[in-house]
């Protein structure tokens, strides 16, 4: 600051600046923070407005879930972000908190289901391949509208059927699981039309109840009388016409499946089945095609003989046609009488038999079985297979059976159907049949005929013609003997001399052919000569071949 030493008088002259207009009192620069505040406020308001509900979902595992990164999606549209992933207080489950967008508020209710979408490979398909790169995300299915809810339990497996998928659910019941598998395909005429959604054992453990989903428009093919059967695996059948291999598809061979069809009455026979109709699941197509008889009559049969070979499920036959089956076999020992009784409970399906005409005496169909029993219908154990000893129950008419009746209000809960013993009584009746037949043989007539024959024979033996014939036969034999003696004395010495001559000539021949005989040595010399001649001929042939001209000009001067 050297200028500070200057005095006022030394100051240079500077031009005087003219006045400008008055400045405005208000500075426009304050608009800048105002705008900033407006923008900031707008951001805050926007964030608050867009802030949707915060929900908590519990999962068994937080695999692939990251706080702040994992998204919540619905139909692949992002509707939220996972904010925290923590262990639950009981350390058993993972508590995931997620902030959803405002619009998601309408979606979530008590029926909403959440699950983690990860890449999954099953025998039928590969799902969520995109998540291999993008990471897992939480998927959801809003479900039906219901009460609002903020705490959810996540599914471990994605649901097979989500809301809004057109189609219908049906319920299948089966005594066995068959090839019911969650996600297993449902086929209609070998077209995949649905999936098995879930299956569970009924509370009482008696059967498997499965839920399936059939997609629209195929759900209309499920009718009231549609049959479902297990289409898993391979159906191999061998019969007189060859080997039949049947399967719905290769997938069903691997993972099993369900097929359905409507067999009788055509498509229009019954109305399409409503949602959640209960159907039976048959173990095979054959079984599904079988007629099912709705009415069943139960009877108890009391046998005192051995029922070895009779099993539950054994057929009840009437003249070779199955009309029912054995339901149960029990044993009963009567302590007072020391007798064993075996009650066998059978179920018959009377609809299998067609009845024609009317019963005599004004009886109705209700009295039919009583009438048949009064006519001699009995149950009997019969051997169905001699090798395995399998027994079946035969109902048949035994006209000679002791009269019996059906005991309707017996202590077994079922009407008691009278039986006949299989071995003893059957053999007895057969024996009596044989005796009957024996009885019918005309023994007296046979006796008189026999006597007549004997008489005739006697007459023949005592006749003189026979005596004469025997005498002439003796003469002929004597003559023959003389002839033979003559042949022996005359012919045999000549034959002897001829044989001696033949022997001597054979000895002469043998000496001539001996090795050291002159004939032999001469013969070998002749053979050697012949060989030499053959060699000479060969040499000649060779020289002729080489010099054919030598025939005309003689042997030339050798070279």
């Amino acid at each position: 600051m050297s200028d500070s030493n200057l005095s006022q008088g030394d100051l240079p002259k500077v031009p005087v600046a003219p006045l400008k207009e008055k400045p405005s009192r208000f500075s426009l620069v304050w608009l800048v923070p105002l705008v900033a505040a407006l923008i900031g406020g707008w951001l805050v308001v926007k964030a608050l407005r867009e802030k949707g509900p915060r929900i908590t979902i519990t999962f068994r595992s937080a695999e692939g879930l990251e706080a702040g990164k994992t998204k919540v999606k619905y139909k692949d549209v992002e509707i939220g972000t996972v904010s925290t992933v923590e262990l639950g207080e009981d350390l058993q489950r993972v508590v995931v908190k997620a902030d959803l967008v405002k619009a998601a508020e309408r979606l979530i209710s008590e029926n909403t289901r959440f699950w983690v979408a990860r890449a999954r490979v099953s025998a039928t398909a590969v799902y969520g391949l995109g998540t291999v790169f993008s990471g897992a995300y939480i998927d959801m299915d809003p479900g039906k509208p219901g009460k609002p809810m903020r705490h959810f339990t996540g599914l471990e497996e994605p649901p097979i059927v989500t809301t809004g998928l057109p189609g219908r659910h049906f319920v299948l019941e089966s005594p066995r699981r068959e090839s019911l598998e969650v996600g297993a395909p449902v086929y209609y005429r070998q077209i995949r039309v649905g999936e098995v959604v879930s299956y569970r054992l009924q509370e009482d453990g008696q059967k498997i109840v499965a839920k399936i989903f059939v997609h629209a428009p195929y759900d209309k093919f499920v009718r009231q009388n549609t049959r479902f059967w297990d289409a898993g695996g391979i159906d191999l059948k061998m019969d007189a016409s060859g080997v039949h291999l049947y399967t719905e598809s290769l997938v069903s061979v691997l993972v099993g499946g369900i097929a359905f069809d409507t067999f009788d009455g055509g498509l229009n026979a019954e109305e399409p089945a409503p949602e959640d109709t209960v159907f039976l699941l048959f173990p095979s197509l054959e079984k599904a095609k079988e007629k099912v008889y709705s009415t069943k009559n139960y009877f108890v049969l009391l046998f005192d003989e051995s029922v070895r070979g009779l099993s539950v499920g054994a057929p009840v036959e009437f003249r070779g046609i199955q009309i029912g089956q054995v339901i149960d076999i029990k044993t009963e020992f009567d302590l007072t009488t020391n007798k064993v009784k075996i009650p066998v409970i059978i179920a018959t399906e009377p609809e299998r038999i067609t009845f024609v005409g009317a019963l005599p005496g004004g009886r109705t169909r209700k009295d039919l079985i009583d009438y048949l029993v009064s006519q001699g219908m009995r149950a009997q154990l019969r051997s169905g297979n001699f090798i395995t000893g399998q027994l079946y129950v035969a109902l048949d008419i035994f006209p000679k059976a002791a009269p019996a009746q059906i005991v309707h209000n017996g202590r077994y809960g079922y009407p008691e159907f009278p039986t006949v013993g299989s071995t003893f009584e059957e053999v007895g009746s057969k024996l009596s049949n044989i005796l009957d037949k024996l009885d019918k043989i005309p023994l007296e007539e046979i006796g008189t005929d026999l006597r007549d024959t004997v008489k005739g024979a006697k007459r023949i033996t005592t006749s003189p013609e026979l005596l004469r014939t025997l005498k002439s036969l003796e003469e002929a034999v004597n003559e023959m003997r003389g002839l033979l003696a003559q042949w022996r004395t005359q012919t045999s010495p000549e034959l002897n001399t001829a044989l001696v001559q033949a022997q001597s000539s054979l000895a002469a021949m043998e000496s001539a052919l001996r090795a050291d005989s002159p004939l032999q040595s001469r013969l070998s010399a002749a053979v050697e000569e012949f060989a030499a001649a053959a060699r000479a001929l060969k040499v000649l042939a060779d020289s002729l071949e080489r010099h054919p001209e030598s025939v005309l000009f003689g042997k030339g001067q050798g070279q």
């Binding site: 600051m1 500077v14 600046a17 207009e21 500075s27 900033a36 998204k71």
Partner: protein, 210 residues
Amino acid sequence: MSTQVFTARRMGWVSCSVCHLLSSAAPHEDRVEVFRCPRCGARLYSRKPDSVARTWALVLAACIFYIPANVLPMTTVVALGKVQSDTIMSGVIYFIQSGSWPIALIIFVASVFVPLLKLLILAFLLISVQRRSRLRPIDRTRLYLLTEAVGRWSMLDVFVVTILVAMVNLGALATIQAGPAALYFAAVVVLTMFAAMSFDPRLIWDVLEE
């Protein structure tokens, strides 16, 4: 420093900020009127008009924008279908976790520390001027110089984002998109630069001359 210092201002002289002509513009008591440069016609003022108020306005605006710049995502990286949005601080944390300390330090200094430092320095200078503080004027002037010098470098972050967006554009494989925070961050940087410009460091010394 004595209170009686010979200054152009006391003489009623004003240097034109455009053509640097010194002219006499005697200040009125109420300082309502404004003079014109006799040579180039530019507006004359011995101190930047409304310096404190303007700087305050710009600093406040920058402070407001500083919040969304740090809360909202700066970049959105889409790599192999995986979408990841990063704020400035999450990017810094990411680089620390991945072991890239130097990069994390650069981003933190350039994008978080420096803008905040500038805002704090400006606020401190403004308050000290308003309170007519006589404390360490030389140090305060140095702070001001620092603020002005470092101002342009604060745009580093915005530049990095811009380059990344332009370069990493591999279609389905990976793309980087600038997030909304980039805009607010740029606003913060620009506003602090203007705030530093509008502040008149001579105000620091005016108190000492009276």
